[in-house]
Amino acid sequence: METTKQYDVIVIGGGPAGMAAAIKAYEEGKGKVLIIERNDSLGGILPQCIHNGFGAVNFDRDYPGPQYAYMYEKKLRSYDIEILLDTMVLEISAEKEVYAMNSAMGYLHLQSKAIVLAMGCRERTRSQIRLPGTRAAGIYTAGTAQRLVNIEGYMPGKRIVILGSGDIGMIMARRFTIEGAKVLSVLELQPFLTGLRRNYVQCLQDYGIPLHLSTTVNKIMGADRVEAIETVQVDEQYNPIEGSEEIIECDTLVLSVGLIPENEISRKAGVKLDRRTNGPIVDSYMMTTIPGIFAAGNVTFVYDLVDYVSQAGELAGLNAARYARNERIDSQLGIRLKPGRNVGSVVPQKIMITKDDETGTSITLRPNALIEHRVTVELKYGDETVVSFKEQYARPAEMMFHKLKEKELARLEEIKSGELTAVIS
């Protein structure tokens, strides 16, 4: 196949990370920038998130999802950036070729100097948590249910049980209720809420929807459509407590049991993935292990606020444009960063020492333990603490950020390469 077109930066994915990346790449390089989106509109998952809670960091506002997306789309469309909608990227190569297609233009073979991966994430399914029972109709992931209700305009259930107290699950509990369905209960395997507290208050408490912690689905029943589910309480080791089973008659089970970065095309190109985050290993420039291929947003690490996703997109877009302009982005020297005690995952996995203020000298980490008191986060080089900061608490539902200070960077420069471990105590 012949190459159809040449670009400086191709951004794959038109969600919050991709739009921010394309905008920044254009502003930085004024080169040929293309953004490719699978859906027939921009915004990624945002257009179906009609609740508010977006933009507090980047706009100092409380926007609903479509409004937040529109802010970026407006800017994107005001620039000379090419946009391909309803277009699927099937493959990319380490040489930064992109194979994509749509029904209007057919099969496309594009070439770029830099690529930004911004494909977002997908939801964990029923099989992945090995939920026992029948395979009846009426089992949906929260995002699919959200799309059916908010975009397609259809109700997938009347009497609904939600498994998982993540934000999407709680928001959908409220949404279903407003649309006239009965949400019987929200179940959570963990002994604590996994979504934001504000969503618990605004989505469950305010609507009288019960939350049951340390409880999960033991069995799905119903041959054609879900007829009931059996719930069970679990002990601290997540083992079912015998005798605590309860049957809830319902027609729908909605799963909100976690998100996984979507990296099929990254993997095909040979981008190295981190088993912890399920996303590409990135450095402070958001560059992956393949030079010139960058990644940003939920494709690298599932963020809890869209504002941070956009910021990560900007960083990737900026550096992709610089790379396309042949500016040297040193990927050789860097300090590896790995999660230690009470830390689930960290991004970037490689800290680059740079004096450039615009480039990333921030780290993002997600705790994997619930500590409801003041904690210290440390980056340790052997026994030595190189970076240290305090937080009010550590909750798995909330990420932590830290922008490295000059003094800390100076110390890192002395280390140059090697490995740091992030711990929370």
Binding site: M1, E123, G180
Partner: protein, 503 residues
């Protein structure tokens, strides 16, 4: 209701019924297939290990041994005619300790007795070289090169469609309720969709084949016991084996296998547990842990983290000796009523045996019943497979989209299934009328996201192509609707659909 007349009526559109239909479609006969479900292959034909067994395992001299070996040969002969792909993987029966190693010899001798070609006894090193993911504890294996893997859905659909192309009529949602015997001869079956008369009836009702016999008082002691087997499928990017790997068989059966599937995933299972209700295809916590633990002993890299799908299938374990001593396929012209052929107790390896069973049905009709068949002049010897976009090269894809833009729109992103393929499946000789029917034909929704992304679009396409409302689209037939109503639709007074708190 109207009455229909046929030469042959086949009860059940599983792999056995479809293969019999395909076989008989060569001749000048009017043939009907009655299926109580909404599609072909809804029972045990599709929820199984999808292996074309070599025939090394069945007890020599049994119908099973004979049908298995012949069936394996016939599948390979039919594949190009039916337009199905067969993966010639071969199979390893692995020994995991010195005790089991001794059994390789026993199996080897049995294979020879069954006339299986190419079977070899392999050392540990030879075995590990062929399948490096095997546990280092492996002590050797029996190698059977004629075993293979198939897409079980595609096999049934292809056989049924080839039959349909050659004039066989399929009646779905059609359940046999009653049978009429006149002067010792079965003449009519009564269904929820009217009466079907025929000269011959073929009982290919799978787990319900005993009930069909009992309707005419045939073999009251033949009882099908349903055994459920659970399975798991893994993300192809994470877990990868390239063979069919059996553990050493025990008295309880062939054991939990680890196998590559026709689509390149790794599949583990099945266990075997007796169940009360024949259609109970739930998966259980216990069962899933059981197959996971067992398979890890053989392939240690298998991890629960990488599971993308779990399912279970029901097998028809039948026998015609009340004491259960001699378990075999029952393939016969009924001794009790004329005009009935029983194909019952077709448990594993039934799938691979199916074309041989069909051949046997033809033999019974010719040699025992004295039927003569005339070839159909307009017989179409081959069925064209439908396009699988994911398997095409870049250039082929470009060409296809140029011809039909519907192939330019991906609906299932994990398995790269296009709108064009979905539309083609809906308008195929055996039309795909439900989400699951499309899934079985195109492989949509079988990947990592398990339909999360494709549900809404697939429903829309079904709604458009079948010209029915979204609220009537089902997962797998009556009762399995996806959607109840539109949002903002006024709920009828007294309806239970709502919270009082709704705003």
């Amino acid at each position: 209701m109207e009455t229909k007349n046929f030469d042959v009526v086949i009860i059940g559109a599983g792999i056995v019924g479809s293969m019999v239909a395909q076989r008989l479609s060569k001749f000048k006969l009017s043939v009907a297939v009655l299926e109580k479900e909404v599609d072909v292959g809804m029972g045990q034909s599709t929820a199984n290990s999808a292996i074309l067994h070599s025939g090394h395992d069945p007890e020599p001299g049994t119908m099973k041994a004979k049908m298995n070996k012949r069936g394996n040969e016939l599948w390979k002969q039919y594949a190009p005619e039916l337009g199905v792909e067969i993966c010639d993987t071969g199979a390893l029966v692995v020994a995991m300790n010195p005790e089991e190693k001794k059994q390789i010899k026993v199996l080897y001798e049995r294979s020879n007795e069954n006339g299986i070609e190419g079977v070899e006894m392999w050392s540990r090193a030879q075995t590990l070289a062929r399948e490096p993911h095997l546990s280092p504890e492996c002590t050797g294996a029996l190698w059977t090169p004629t075993a293979g893997v198939i897409d079980p859905f595609e096999g049934v659909v292809a056989a049924a469609e080839h039959a349909a192309l050659n004039g066989v009529q399929f009646f779905f949602n059609t359940e046999v309720q009653h049978m009429v015997v006149e002067e010792g001869k079965l003449t009519t079956v009564k269904t929820n969709r009217g009466d079907f008369h025929a000269r011959w009836f073929v009982n290919a009702a799978g787990i319900h084949s005993d009930e069909i016999m009992h309707m005419v008082g045939d073999r009251p002691d033949f009882v099908i016991r349903a055994r459920r087997g659970e399975y798991m499928i893994f993300d192809k990017a994470k877990v990868k084996v390239s063979n069919v790997i059996f553990p050493m068989p025990t008295e309880n059966g062939k054991g939990i296998l680890v196998s590559v599937t026709a689509h390149g995933n790794t599949l583990i299972g099945p266990n075997a547990h007796a169940i009360e209700q024949k259609e109970d295809t739930a998966v259980t916590k216990f069962g899933l842990s059981e197959i996971l633990e067992q398979s890890k002993k053989v392939v240690p890299t298998i991890s629960a983290q990488d599971v993308i799908a779990t399912f279970s299938g029901v097998r028809a374990t039948g026998n015609y000796c009340p004491d259960g001593s001699h378990r075999d396929f029952l393939i016969e012209i009924s001794k009790r009523v004329k005009g009935l052929i029983n194909l019952a107790g077709i448990e594993s390896p039934g799938y691979v045996s199916s074309p041989a069973i069909a051949e046997e049905v033809e033999r019974l009709l010719r040699e025992e019943a004295g039927e003569t068949f005339e070839d159909k002049e307009e017989y179409q010897p081959t069925r064209q497979p439908r396009v699988r976009f994911a398997k095409l090269s870049h250039d082929e894809r470009a060409e296809l989209i140029r011809k039909n833009p519907a192939y330019g729109r991906i609906v299932c992103r994990c398995e790269e299934v296009t709108e064009g393929e979905i539309v083609a499946a809906i308008h195929a000789p055996i039309p795909a009328m439900t989400y699951d029917a499309i899934k079985r034909r195109t492989w949509l929704g079988t990947g990592r996201c398990q339909g999360s992304f494709d549900y809404p679009r697939t429903m829309e396409i079904l709604s458009r192509e079948l010209n029915i409302p979204m609220t009537e689209i089902t997962k797998r037939g009556p009762g399995s609707v996806f959607l109840f109503r539109k949002t903002k639709e006024i709920v009828e007074a007294g309806g239970t659909d709502g919270n009082n708190k709704a705003v």
